[in-house]
């Protein structure tokens, strides 16, 4: 009897350690693993490398999602596409307290997919000739300039689904998928929090977005904040 579920978010991530590389699904606040983020904050893990489209989100004067980890000084390096999403990141960056690897959003998605799919490296036109191509290998393919991009991997991926079953099969909702299914493939250990947890056989096999093979642990999220009225 296989059952990948954990009782609490904190138990699900008990073996995360200082210095780990962690991918976090989500775009803005859509599809972020908010319970795993809270649990990781409680646990106090530090010196993290965070891979995520944005380092948290700002709504009005408040910051949500990953911002809590940055503000608490737990992150030494951030890899993503949209660091200006929060003021807290900018403050740390200006003080030289966090390292930044800026990656175009589509290249970020593709590098993560490559990490999960056994692609050794790939060429894209995105960014060719710009500041973001500095130090990258160039190749001319059919008369156009491409740059070489390498895969991204991680010790853990923290992802979020709408529905999940005990085998780790996941279904996302609306724009909640975004980077989640890619990160599920790319990390050594993938932990999925899910709004609804169901038994094997409840999800229609044809509508599963992330097959359970890519998911090591599943936990029913303790609390789901809604940020919009």
């Amino acid at each position: 009897m296989i059952n990948k579920t954990y009782r609490t978010s904190l138990e699900a991530l008990q073996d995360v350690k200082d210095g780990d590389v962690i991918m976090f699904g989500g775009f803005g606040l859509a599809g972020i693993p908010q319970n795993l983020i809270r649990a990781l904050y409680e646990k106090g893990t530090k010196n993290l490398t965070v891979i995520s489209n944005n380092p948290g989100s700002r709504l009005g004067d408040d910051e949500y999602g990953l911002a809590v980890l940055f503000k608490a000084g737990r992150v030494k390096k951030y890899i993503g596409s949209y660091p200006t999403a929060t003021k807290s990141f900018k403050e740390l960056y200006d003080k030289g307290e966090v390292e930044l690897e800026l990656v175009p959003q589509g290249t970020l998605a593709e590098r993560i997919r490559a990490g999960g799919a056994g692609i050794g490296a790939f060429y894209v036109k995105t960014g060719a000739g710009t500041l973001l191509a500095q130090g990258k290998e160039i190749r001319i393919i059919e008369g156009e300039q491409y740059i070489l991009e390498y895969p991204l991997g991680a010790d853990f991926a923290f992802i979020k689904s709408y529905k999940g079953d005990i085998y780790g099969n996941l279904v996302y909702r609306y724009t909640g998928a975004n980077f989640n299914p890619l990160m599920a493939m790319a990390a050594d250990i993938t932990i999925a929090e899910t709004e609804e947890l169901v038994d094997a056989g409840v999800l229609d096999p044809g509508t599963v977005h992330t097959p359970g093979i890519f998911v090591d642990r599943v936990v029913k999220g303790e609390r789901y904040d809604r940020w919009y009225e």
């Binding site: 803005g28 589509g106 998928a177």
Partner: protein, 214 residues
């Protein structure tokens, strides 16, 4: 400072470039106002790079969902016939040449259609999907004020801001005029109501080709 078109008029003008059945990506900010000027009977599929084709308008209070947002993280709705997908597929649509049109803002555009719209010297850089868009979308239209707030040209001979993409812009719509980017340079297509040719030429940082009739 010369007024020319309002933001609303600029959005209305840009909306005319959107053809029936087009797949269109709208940049954050002014371009999203274009949504208000698509006739009800015209089918257009708006793409948001976070994973939706068929964005509707913005969601009303009480009808928002935290998992249904656009690229600017605003709560939205979707139309009949919409589809959701993960980020790799969303960017395959852009980089792979499937999106018909993107309408974005800019800091600078050069006479060759080079684009600078992702960061400025001294800024914390953010890139989002801007470079992916210019790497593959079939047509790029820039929607922006003709000059900076302090009256400096944004349309220039050579970019001084960091480049997003080279030779990628097809058309520029500003408060003063509409310009086509051609092999020979920037071609004046329309003047905004009440704006003179001299005003356009005087506030453009490079040569503007003016066809007969202006």
């Amino acid at each position: 400072m010369i007024a020319g078109m309002s933001e609303k008029d600029m959005a209305r003008r840009a909306a005319q470039e959107i053809e029936e059945g087009f797949y269109v990506n709208l940049g954050i900010g002014m371009p999203t106002r274009i949504l208000d000027f698509i006739p009800e009977d015209k089918t257009v599929f708006f793409h948001t790079e976070n994973g939706l084709l068929g964005m509707g308008g913005f969601a009303k209070k009480g009808e928002t969902h935290p998992d249904l947002v656009d690229a600017a993280k605003q709560p939205i709705t979707c139309i009949k016939g919409a589809s959701f997908f993960p980020s790799d597929i969303s960017f395959a649509m852009m980089r792979g040449g499937h999106i018909d049109l993107a309408i974005m803002g800019a800091y600078q555009v050069s006479e060759k259609g080079d684009l600078a719209n992702w960061t400025a010297p001294g800024m914390l850089p953010s890139i989002g999907g801007a470079m992916d868009i210019v790497a593959g979308v079939k047509k790029i239209i820039i929607l922006m004020t003709h000059t900076t707030k302090d009256g400096k040209p944004k349309i220039v001979s050579t970019l001084t801001y960091p480049v997003t993409g080279f030779k990628c812009v097809s058309m520029i719509i500003t408060n003063l005029c509409v310009l086509d980017v051609t092999d020979k340079g920037l071609l004046l297509k329309e003047l905004a109501p009440g704006v003179s040719l001299q005003e356009v030429v005087g506030t453009t940082g490079t040569k503007v080709i003016v066809p007969e009739g202006f």
